[in-house]
Amino acid sequence: MRVLLVAALFLCASAAAASKPPLDTLGIPPQDEAYYGGGVIKCRDGSGKFSRDQLNDDFCDCPDGTDEPGTSACPEGKFYCKNAGHTPITIFSSRVNDGICDCCDGSDEYDSNVTCKNTCWEAGKAARDKLKKKIATYKSGVVIRNKEVERAKEAFAKDETELAKLKGEEKILKGLVDKLKEQKRLIEKAEEEERLKKEEEKRIKEEAEKKATVEKEAQDASHEVGSKETDPPVKEDESKVAEQHDGHATDHVPESGISDEQHGSESQDDSGIVDELPLKESAPTLEQDPSSDNPEGLSREELGRIVASRWTGESVNDVSKDNKKGHEDDHEIPEPAEAAVEDELEIPEPAEENYGSYHSDVEDDRHKYDDEDFDHESEDEYVDDHDDHVESYKSDDDQKGEHHSDLTASEHSSWLDKIHQTVQNVLQKFNFFKTPVDLSEASRVRKEYDDASSKLSKIQSKISTLTEKLKQDFGKDKEFYSFYDQCFETKEGKYTYKVCAYKKATQAEGHSSTNLGRWDKFEESYRVMQFSNGDKCWNGPDRSLKVRLRCGLSNELNDVDEPSRCEYVAVLSTPALCIEDKLKELQNKLDAMSSKQPGHDEL
């Protein structure tokens, strides 16, 4: 009966728009009708009460709007439109009779100078069609998602197994390496003793010769030797710094008088930074210097250099030769150091007018790095000492997938056994008490040690990569597991956006790339991926990106936007968001919408 009444009202409204609807139901949702049943009605906020004839009398008695659900009298009121044929909605009472049609049934404009057409049927149909499409997407999406979740679970289990295995191997290999190391130390000690003995003999001989010369001259000579001993390391550092500047920044430094001045006046902090670079570079050399086992060696320039170069140079060379990429090492060395500086200092973006001139240089550098990264990805074996010191996305990227291809279960036992066997042989063969040291035996021990420790660091690197991966948040059903090794790209205008979940997001224009943020976390119960602390904006915040996820049949990145300076948003369609519960919800909504259709038909 009521339905008919309301329907009749629409006819009136659309015909004449003059007659007022019954005040006792106006704007009241069906579930609240009982509340308004009595003769005296309470304001919901408890501020007072009102009589039945004050209901919808266009005067606000309850500040919360209880007494005026159907008029605009109370600013905090809400008006319910039935919208038969579509979905009922509740609108702010500020919309009632304001001359703008808000409800598709036009019921909000019962006393204004506009005539609202009832568009609920058309709008409802369009909405239902849209909803149906969405449901269809969800249906297919749910299937895909379920498969993904299965796959993810398997992959996750596999990775866990892998990690356990690697840890086992690490333990064994570590034992072997320790043994070899001790062996090598002993050999070197023996060698060193031998050499010292020879030197001592030589020295005695030389001193005897020197005694023949005048004493003053002898002093001068010794002074010279002293300075020679301290000079070379400094030179080395300098050359390395120079090398780095050559490769990266030499052009920038003398660019403007201002920068020089500033440089001078701020030399305190400045030098701190500059010093850091050579320090970082030389650090591996010192740390890994085997002569730390051999303290006397440090006082001996010649020895120190030989030993150092053997360890640093040789091991780097070995790897690079194996990988046919020796020529790139020049770039590689400074990069981690620079990246570290970048991280610490949060480079602000330079003002364009002041620093525009080296823009292109910088882009070129970027280009080199990018290419380099690309090369790495194609390498099967890439383990570099630098990765032990500097963790970066790049190394994560570079090593992705390696552990599967390289260390399959059947293979690894054989290579491990082999090493084990070789080491045993070497250890047994070597005779410590033989003097002079058997050179071929010694070099064999060294080689075995090199090989084994290189393998060990490779395994450790894989363990750390895998551990890093497994501790990520992959969602309730691990539905985002496959995102770990994927990047999503889209082009908008001149920019290419690349979003790598768990890693970072970038905006690339030509060869230059801007970091829009490092992976931060999921937000809003896995509906948003947050990337934070990207490259700093000049006079602005660090760049950041929010990727809103929505259900779609494939992973597709779209609609990148920058609503605030340097705060980006994007949309990623993905089956991972096609959640069954949500599908049910949509279906219920459609059912609810469809069930209201007869209301229209009754007309």
Binding site: D45, S47, D57, D58, F59, D61, C62, P63, D64, G65, S72, P75, E76, S94, D98, G99, I100, H245, H248, A249, V253, E255, I258, S259, Q262, H263, E266, D269, D270, I273, E338, V341, L345, E346, I347, P348, E349, P350, E352, Y355, H359, V362, D365, Y495, Q507, E509, S512, S513, T514, N515, D535, K536, C537, N539, P541, E562, P563, S564, R565, E567
Partner: protein, 917 residues
């Protein structure tokens, strides 16, 4: 989108870090970029001169004194060592304003150039209104003329000195050259060999081909405790602080030179975007004003008592020193018994403020930049989603095609008309920016046309001046020329401005003019304008003419039926006739919030009632609490707009959590509910010039406590508010002037007058009060925009005084057209006395047009009513309505109550009386 970062060497990296770390507020203002007085020869010369030490002091030739046929008095000023005498003219305007003009004598020995008289600022009927002065009485080298029955002008001949004094007591009010500092550098034929006329500042050279021509004089304000005015300067003080003298930290003089100042200081006498050379002196015994119509650079010293080392300073006299680089003396002396008299007289000379459209008095939402149509849609929808009203959405420079104004970036705004229509469907408007710099691009028709017609300002060599601004290389139309202003105005026609619609209004920015590569970021002083006028002579009025031409354009576009809305950054005396101004590129910090009040109050005192500061602060990101406080204060600014720099985070009102959204909504609601009151105040301003937002002493001229209160302000005669200007402030001291009580706007609690109250600071509002004895009309229903409120019923809030009486006004018209000029409006006075509220018509009868309204009063809240009456009788008709205890504000949660007449439903258009029974 942003350019990518670069890899940097460590040293540069550090340099950048240091630059970035430097707080913008502390280091951004580039002091060195602007000339100080010492670097400005005319200022340095004048400022270092001791009183009465002039080489060639001017004296009045007694035999030259005569009354002209037009009723003015003329005389010659001369000194034997001067090449030519000067011509002096004294004239009077009702009720007792005196005008003093001094210029070269062009009739005798011809000066090489005509000095510049600023045209089109004074009202055209000024001469017609000139009073006939009586014959002066001369004795002992002193001539006296009666200015009115109340005031005399006394002219001392040698040296020349002029005093306006009270006729009865003989007390001086204002005087000119009492300290013998009046100098008028005569124009010279050619440069003497031993002089250099060129001036250099940084890399710029000013050829100064016409040599020195500055004018200096001292003006004394008697009986004044403080002086006010001279916008525009950043200041937290309402009164102008002395710039030198005993016990005063010497500062620069107040500089009037329109400049685009990047990240300006909230406290500095340096010049900002606009200049109004008008000063008001006020004290317990009276008020006076001095206005010097001169558009050249001006520097004004406010001198602390004892500065001249004379005898003990006279009680309540303020001396001032006025220095201008060029021009003539065209000065006005205004005297009155109270400050409103002075403001009214100033406005009677420079014009009454334009009556804004209703929408323009509501809330404006702006940002540099709403980037595209989707962004505009989204922001518009955001307001609706959060039930926050707004009336106008603004588009900054990025909406154009490469900063070519009158064009659209079609990739971002492919359908500007459709976009505006969608906004207009909700009763809202849009504003686009149109700046004076025109891109020098031969494919840009506007540039081509301006070039072909020779409409650009010329450089010193006579070529089109080429400066650098947003679009790059740019030229500037010569707005001094009326023909060029006509041409410019035509550019706003719908045919010419493609993509514009009737609901699009205009924003004039950068019209100081701002020139990025010019001296002091503006145009060189030796650039040439129409009529062989040097830029130095009209600089401060360039933006005014531009504003004028733009407003005329909108007037033409609407066929004279649609009131223009044009916001301008630069301004000059008279800008009030053309629209609104704002305080330019302020910063998002508490100090700028605080200084916005003295700045807006000062603009109001100098004739410009329609002004405001960017809510939130333009540069930088406001802390959310600051943003909230700014909305609460901004809701009372006459011009209420949120705006932000493009490097800042989004700050639309709903982005700071639900609680803050609710508080900001409430602040905006306060403005919308008071729109009928504001509109009534704008009406008053448009008739009398009395500002919308007023210093306390404008309403309480005798209360000394109020004289330098720059924290609290009146909105009209009835409301007082005070901002919260500190983060985390717990309590605030608010001085409530006058004898009557005040009622808290939110809860109706009464507070005693003439007392400083220490109040608890609350989060959801700033201290705001209604004065006992007033009636304020409100509309308490909120809509999407003011447009939908037109038919909504009114609430009257009556705050009774100690004699149980109150008065208030309501002005209503169609909100957009000029029909009100022919009487198309409703103007009522509500008077409550003897327990009766009466609505009286105060509109003049039969002016031609009629405006009526079916709007009724739905609620009358009576604060301070002591009787427990339960009913009221409406006459005529003898209808009985109930008086109940009703909520003061319609917000759930807090519902303090007051006696409320429920649904009297009397029409605002009718005469009626409601008697409390």
């Amino acid at each position: 989108m942003d350019p990518p970062p670069r890899r940097l060497a460590a040293a540069q990296l550090l340099l950048l870090l240091l630059l970035a770390a430097a707080s913008p507020a502390a280091h951004a203002w580039k002091k060195d970029e602007f000339r100080n007085c010492n670097q400005t020869p005319f200022c340095k010369r004048a400022r270092t001169r001791a009183p009465h030490s002039l080489d060639a002091p001017l004296s009045l030739a007694a035999d030259s004194l005569a009354v002209s046929p037009d009723g003015s008095i003329s005389a010659e000023l001369s000194h034997p060592s001067r090449p030519r005498p000067l011509v002096l003219r004294l004239s009077a305007l009702p009720p007792h304003a005196l005008r003093l003009q001094i210029d070269e004598d062009y009739s005798t020995a011809t000066p090489p150039h005509r000095r510049f008289h600023v045209p089109d600022v004074l009202l055209p009927d000024l001469e017609a209104r000139t009073l006939h002065l009586p014959e002066p009485k001369t004795a002992d080298g002193v001539s006296t003329v009666a200015l009115s029955s109340d005031f005399d002008v006394v002219v001392k001949h040698d040296p020349f000195e002029l005093t306006v004094r009270r006729a009865g007591s003989g007390d001086p009010v204002l005087s000119f050259n009492s300290h013998g500092l009046f100098d008028f550098e005569p124009l010279r034929e050619s440069k003497p060999e031993d002089e250099t006329w060129e001036e250099h500042f940084r890399s710029h050279t000013d050829k100064r081909p016409r040599g020195p021509q500055s004018i200096t004089f001292d003006v004394s304000f008697y009986g004044a405790d403080f002086v006010y005015g001279l916008p525009e300067h950043g200041s937290t003080s309402l009164a102008l602080r002395p710039t030198r003298g005993p016990g005063v930290e010497e500062s620069e003089p107040y500089r009037l030179f329109n400049l685009d100042v990047f990240e300006y200081l909230h406290e500095s006498p340096f010049g900002l975007y606009g200049s109004i050379p008008f000063m008001i002196g006020h004290g317990a015994h009276g008020s006076s004003g001095f206005f010097w119509l001169n558009a050249a650079e001006m520097q004004i010293d406010v001198l602390a008592p004892g500065w001249d080392e004379a005898t003990a300073p006279e009680n309540g006299r303020v001396d001032t020193l006025w220095m201008a680089e060029a021009g003539v003396v065209d000065a006005f002396f205004f005297v009155g018994s109270e400050p409103k008299d002075v403001v009214k007289q100033y406005v009677s000379v420079t014009g009454t403020p334009a009556m804004p459209q209703q929408f323009a008095t509501a809330y404006h939402q702006c940002r540099w930049n709403y980037r595209d149509e989707a962004d505009v849609d989204g922001v518009d929808a955001g307001f609706d989603e959060h039930d926050i009203p707004y009336d106008v959405l603004w588009l900054d420079i990025e909406h154009t095609d490469g900063k070519r104004y009158f064009t659209w970036d079609h990739s971002a705004f492919p359908n500007p008309e459709e976009m505006q229509r969608k906004i207009a469907d909700k009763g809202r408007k849009m504003v686009t920016i149109v700046d004076p710099h025109i891109k020098r691009d031969s494919s840009f028709h506007l540039h081509q046309e301006a070039t072909d017609k020779g409409y650009y300002v010329k450089d010193a060599n006579g070529n089109d001046y080429d400066g650098w601004c947003w679009p790059g290389s740019s030229s500037y139309p010569d707005m001094l020329n009326p023909e060029i202003r006509e041409w410019w105005a035509d550019k706003f026609s719908y045919e010419s401005y493609k993509g514009s619609t009737p609901t699009l209004y205009i924003w004039n920015d950068m019209n100081e003019p701002s020139v990025f590569n010019g001296p002091e970021v503006t145009m060189p002083r030796d650039a040439l304008h129409y009529g062989d006028v040097e830029h130095r002579e009209l600089h401060n009025a360039y933006g005014y003419y531009f504003h004028m031409a733009t407003a005329d354009g909108l007037l033409k576009r609407g066929e004279g039926k649609d009131r223009p809305f044009v916001l301008s950054r630069a301004f000059f005396a008279g800008s009030q006739r053309y629209g609104a101004v704002w305080t330019g590129d302020n910063s998002a910090d508490w100090d700028h919030l605080k200084s916005s009040i003295p700045m807006v109050l000062t603009l109001g005192l100098t004739g410009l009632p329609f002004s405001g500061a960017d809510v939130g602060g333009f540069f930088g990101n406001p802390e959310p609490d600051l943003l909230v406080r700014w909305y609460q204060v901004g809701a009372f600014y006459p011009f209420f707009r949120g705006h932000a720099h493009h490097d800042t985070k989004r700050r639309e009102p709903w982005l700071f959590g639900e609680r803050r959204t609710a508080i900001i909504r409430e602040a905006i609601h306060v403005r919308y509910s008071l729109l009928p009151y504001f509109y009534t105040l704008f009406r008053e301003a448009s008739v009398t010039g009395i500002p919308v937002m007023r210093p306390l002493w404008l309403e309480f001229p005798g209360d000394k406590e109020t004289y330098n209160n720059g924290e609290a302000f009146m909105v009209g005669p009835s409301l007082l508010a005070q901002g919260i200007y500190e983060d985390g402030q717990k309590s605030v001291s608010v001085y409530l002037p006058g004898k009557e009580s005040w009622y808290d706007l939110r809860n109706g609690s009464p507070y005693k007058g003439s007392v400083s109250h220490k109040l608890q600071v609350v989060e959801d509002s700033i201290p705001s009060f209604q004065r006992g004895g007033t009636i304020v009309p409100r509309k308490d229903r909120f809509r999407r925009s003011s447009t939908q409120m037109v038919n909504d019923p009114y609430t009257l809030v009556i705050a009774l005084n100690s004699s149980n009486a109150a008065e208030g006004e309501l002005y209503v018209d169609d909100g957009k057209s000029y029909d009100y000029q022919q009487g198309g409006f409703i103007h009522r006075r509500f008077v409550f006395a003897d327990n009766k509220l009466t609505s009286l018509n105060i509109a003049p009868d039969n002016l031609g047009k009629k405006f009526t309204s079916d709007c009724v009063i739905e609620r009358i809240i009576i604060l301070g009513l002591r009787s427990g009456a339960k009913k009221a009788i409406i006459e005529p008709g003898n209808e009985e309505v109930g008086i109940e205890s009703g909520p003061i504000s319609l917000r759930s949660g807090s519902s303090p109550v007051a006696p409320t007449i429920r649904r009297p439903n009397v029409r605002i258009a009718d005469d009626w009386t409601i008697r409390i029974a």
